[in-house]
Subunit: 181 residues, 2 copies
């Protein structure tokens, strides 16, 4: 079992990146970025401090893979510095750039929540610093700090709801257009 | 202010339907439906009882409007009996049927969560009994029953995540197809 775990850790993109330790050292920077982060609006400084104490910080160099499409893992990222390209493989095996996420943005919430394989890959576009929030930490916060846990869950649910609205609208527009062809 | 409230209530589709009172009377039926409801897997009987005590039950007749696209309100529905048609107006003003939701299914989570206008209309296909869960009740449960609150939020977040995956996949497929044309 231990061997499997090690093997898995080695194959994980995160394990190949530079770990900067507990994210708590980044609280001032996390706090700065709150202004332009949807996620952190209405989080107090204390909330941010508590949340970051449950996270680890990492650094990726340009071109580094941060999340690999199809992998089964269960963490999300908060981008503190730099930019990350989201890329999805299409049915012809070609990588399609989907969007770019910068400081204050979040990545990987879906797999953190539902444990399903990663929907897309995330590749650092430049030197990027991010903090990692795992499902285990989420569960711990819910148990140890229920009101902060609820706040985070409400944020996640709002974020996903807004994305679902916008993706559904895009899909409808494409359906209409393809019918018009 | 009171007049505005009354006017709003009269214009709301829900206000025109038959209210069956507190949903708690439907606990046995709610419990039966758990078997085929994604939402209620891993809810205990006690959880279901508590949750339903925060909900009201309604009945709609075939053709009744249950939710109107564009309305601003903040509740979700649990279908106990019957089936509901989800219909979205396209850019030509035509109503497009999107999907049908039956017993055990949920509706309207997005507006319950983010307070944005309703994305689509819901129309009863047959005699339908459903329970209504408002954002106010959600907030109350989080404050009064934090662990059940977290359980509900985790369910919502998982549900939205799965829908976002499937909608994103559909969108990608359509993008690929329209490029191939």
């Amino acid at each position: 079992m231990v061997d499997d775990e090690n093997l898995k850790a080695e194959n994980e993109p995160l394990a190949r990146l530079e770990c900067l330790g507990n994210a708590k050292q980044m609280v001032p920077r996390m706090f700065e970025m709150i202004g332009h982060s949807k996620f952190f609006t209405d989080f107090t400084r204390e909330n941010v401090e508590t949340l970051t104490s449950y996270m680890k910080a990492y650094r990726a160099e340009p071109g580094d893979l941060v999340i690999r499409e199809g992998d089964v893992d269960d963490f999300m990222l908060f981008i503190v510095e730099g930019r990350v390209n989201i890329v999805k493989t299409d049915s012809h095996g070609e990588r399609r750039p989907m969007t770019i996420v910068g400081p204050g943005g979040t990545l990987g919430e879906m797999s953190m929540i539902d444990g399903e394989p990663r929907f897309a890959s995330c590749i650092a576009l430049e030197a990027t610093v991010f903090s990692v929030f795992s499902r285990d930490s989420m569960v711990k916060i819910i148990l140890e700090q229920p009101s902060l846990g609820a706040k985070i869950l409400i944020k996640l649910v709002t974020l996903l709801s807004q994305r679902l609205r916008s993706t559904s609208s895009d899909l409808l527009q494409h359906l209409e257009r393809s019918e018009a062809v």
